[in-house]
Symmetry: C2
Subunit: 344 residues, 2 copies
C-alpha cells in the first residue's frame, strides 16, 4: 500500500500563473468561461510544474466519474478475452476508463462486485456471473446501473444483453439433423450457467423430434482441456462407439474436442464425425478448424450493453429492466457436411 506522494495542486499552478485556483480548474475544463490568454498562461504553468488534475478529487466534487467497471467471467475462454478487449476499446473511445475485474468460474463473485461498487462508477457490466439479490439491492441503493452480459437474467431487477442462445443452437441442431446426425453427443459447460442450459435446450428442441435420434451429454467444464479430457475419458478403452455428431456449447470446447478426436483417435472431421460449436471465436475460424458455429455479434452486444448503462440512476428504481436478445450469425464452416449452400 504505497503512500502517494503529495502532488502538485491547482493552487500551486494558480500561484505560479498569478491567478486564482478556480481559474486553473476552468483552464482544464473544455468550454469553461475563461480567456484564451489566461488559459494558455495557466497551461504553461501546469506543464512547468508537471501538474495534471487529480481525477479522484475532481469527481468527488463534480459527482461525475467516467469509470465503468467490467467484471469478466472465465478469461481462459477466448470469447471472454475477446469480449473484454471490445469493452476496453469501446469504453475508451467514449473517453471513459475501465476498471477491470476477473472472477474465476464458480468462485464467489460477490466480494469482487462489492469492491467495484466502492467506486463511484458510472456503470457495472457483469459478464457471465451470478449476482446475489443482496448485491442487486446494493447496486440499486447506490444508484449504479448494472447490465448482465451474456447471461439470462433471473428475476426482474436487472438489465441484460445476450445472444439468442436457444434459437442459435436450434439452428445448429436442425443443420446437424439434416446432415444425418443421429447419435449425438452434447458437450455442455457450466451446469449452472444459463448460457449452457439455453444452448443445450435449444439444440435438443431441434433434434428431439427427429426419428432415431439418441442424445448423450457430457461435461466439458467450459474449457479446452475440460472438453479434450472428456473426449479421451469417454472414448478410451476397447472399441468405443463414436457418435455421428458432437455439439459443444462453446467454441473453445469444440476445439478441444476436435484436437482430441484427431490426435487421440485419428478421426477426421467432418468425414468421421461432425462438429459444431458456439461463439465464433477467432481461433475456431482458422483453417485447421473452420468450425461450423454461431457467432455472437460481440461488437453489437457491447454497444447495446453500453447503451443500457446510460439508464439514468434515478430511473433505476421504478423503470423495469431492459432485456436485449440479439440473434447470432450462423457461420457455415467446414465441420458439418453439406453447408455449401450457406456460403455467400
Amino acid at each position: 500500500m504505497a503512500r502517494l506522494k503529495s502532488r502538485v495542486t491547482s493552487f500551486d499552478v494558480a500561484k505560479l500563473a498569478g491567478v486564482s485556483q478556480p481559474a486553473v480548474s476552468r483552464a482544464f475544463t473544455p468550454g469553461a468561461s475563461i480567456t484564451k490568454e489566461k488559459r494558455d498562461r495557466i497551461l504553461a504553468a501546469a506543464k512547468e510544474l508537471n501538474y495534471v488534475p487529480n481525477v479522484f478529487a475532481s469527481s468527488l466534487s463534480s459527482k461525475r466519474s467516467n469509470m465503468v467497471a467490467v467484471i469478466s467471467g472465465n478469461l481462459n475462454n477466448p470469447f471472454y478475452s475477446e469480449t473484454l478487449q471490445v469493452f476496453v476499446e469501446s469504453i475508451q473511445r467514449t473517453h471513459r476508463q475501465v476498471l477491470a475485474f476477473s472472477v474465476q468460474d464458480g468462485r464467489d463473485s460477490d466480494d469482487v462486485m462489492m469492491q467495484a461498487m466502492r467506486y463511484p462508477i458510472d456503470g457495472l457490466v457483469v459478464t457471465s456471473a451470478q449476482m446475489s439479490s443482496e448485491l442487486v439491492k446494493l447496486s440499486e441503493g447506490l444508484g449504479i446501473p448494472v447490465v448482465m452480459f451474456n447471461r439470462r437474467v433471473v428475476g426482474s431487477e436487472l438489465s441484460g444483453v445476450q445472444c439468442d442462445n436457444f434459437e442459435g443452437s436450434a439452428v445448429l441442431g436442425r443443420l446437424m439433423a439434416a446432415a444425418g446426425a443421429r447419435r449425438i453427443l452434447i458437450v455442455r459447460g457450466d451446469p449452472q450457467g444459463s448460457t449452457s442450459i439455453d444452448r443445450v435446450q435449444g439444440f435438443r428442441s431441434a433434434v428431439d423430434g427427429v426419428a432415431g435420434v439418441e442424445i448423450e451429454e457430457v461435461d466439458g467444464e467450459s474449457s479446452y482441456s475440460g472438453a479434450r479430457n472428456a473426449m479421451i475419458r469417454r472414448f478410451n478403452g476397447p472399441g468405443p462407439r463414436f457418435p455421428d455428431a458432437i455439439f459443444a456449447v462453446n467454441d473453445i470446447m469444440a476445439i478441444g474436442c476436435a484436437d482430441a478426436l484427431n490426435e487421440n483417435f485419428g478421426l477426421k472431421i467432418p468425414d468421421d464425425i461432425m462438429l459444431a460449436g458456439f461463439d465464433g471465436i477467432r481461433e475456431g475460424q482458422r483453417a485447421p478448424y473452420s468450425l461450423t458455429t454461431v457467432r455472437q455479434p460481440v461488437e453489437r452486444m457491447v454497444a447495446e450493453t453500453l447503451e443500457l448503462l446510460k439508464a439514468a440512476p434515478e430511473d433505476l428504481k421504478g423503470a423495469e429492466a431492459q432485456r436485449r436478445v440479439i440473434p447470432g450469425d450462423l457461420i457455415p464452416g467446414h465441420t458439418v457436411p453439406g453447408m455449401g449452400r450457406w456460403a455467400r
Copy 2:
C-alpha cells in the same frame, strides 16, 4: 457523463448507529481501534442503508489508492490478452484494482497514458508501447512508478521487465540451422519495436556464420492476417521458390504462416518447410500446430513487474532504473525436425 446520485455517507450511518463519523471510518478499517460491539452496530447500520465507503473520497484523504493502471499493446495478439489476464488476476489477488487501457499498435499512446496519470495510481505498467520523454518526466513529477513490460527500455530512466528475446531467438536459430535450414525467411513484426528487432538480431546472430545460409525478411505486421497475407503475397504466382525454414518473431504470426502454407500452398510442416515462433501462446501449443517456440514465462514476468512497481515513489528520482531480463523456455514442438531429444 452521468451525474452521480448522491450516496449515503458515513455521516448517515453514524447518525443511525448513534456514533460519530470517524467511528464509521474505523469500523471499515481493519485493525482500527474500536470495540467489537460498536463496530458490529455500525456495520449493521451500514448494511441497512446500503452504505459502502467511497473509494475516491477515501483515497483523497488517505493519499492511498489501490489502483494499478495497465496499458496494453495490441490485444489482437493473444500473447497480450493472456498477459492482461495474468495482470488482472495477480493484481486482484493483492486486493488492488486494475485500470485497463488499450493502445492500438502504432497509435499515439501519450494521451492514453496521460489519462492514466490523472488517477492517483500506485503504478503504471506499459506493455509494448513507447513512452515519450515528456511523459517520463511527468510520471517522475507525479511520483508514479512506471514499469515497461516486454519492451527494451531506451535511455535510463525507466524500469523494465522483458524476456531475453535475443538469446531465445538465437537458440531457435541454432536449432533450425542444425536441422538443415539454409534458405531462411524471417517474418518480422513492428519494425520500430524492440521486441521484433531483438528477436531478428538474435536469430541472425546464430545463423549468420553458417555456410550457405541465405536470409530474407518480410513484414508480418505482428498479426495473424498480416503474416498470412505476407505469405500469400510472397509465394503467389508461378513457381515461387520456398525457403527451408521460416522464423516468425511471434507465435500468432507463425500460426498465420502455418495456415497459409497449408491451405494455400499445400505444404506440410515440418516436412516441406520448418517453422518456429516466439511467445508460447496457448493456441500455438495445440495439436494442429505444436509450434516450436520459446515461451515467455509470463507469470514470472508479471510477478517481477509488480515487484518493481513497489519502488517507493520517493526513491524514484535518484535510484537508477531496474532492468530484469528473464530467460525464455524452449518448447520443442513438432515444427522443427529432430527435436525429440529436447522432449522431457
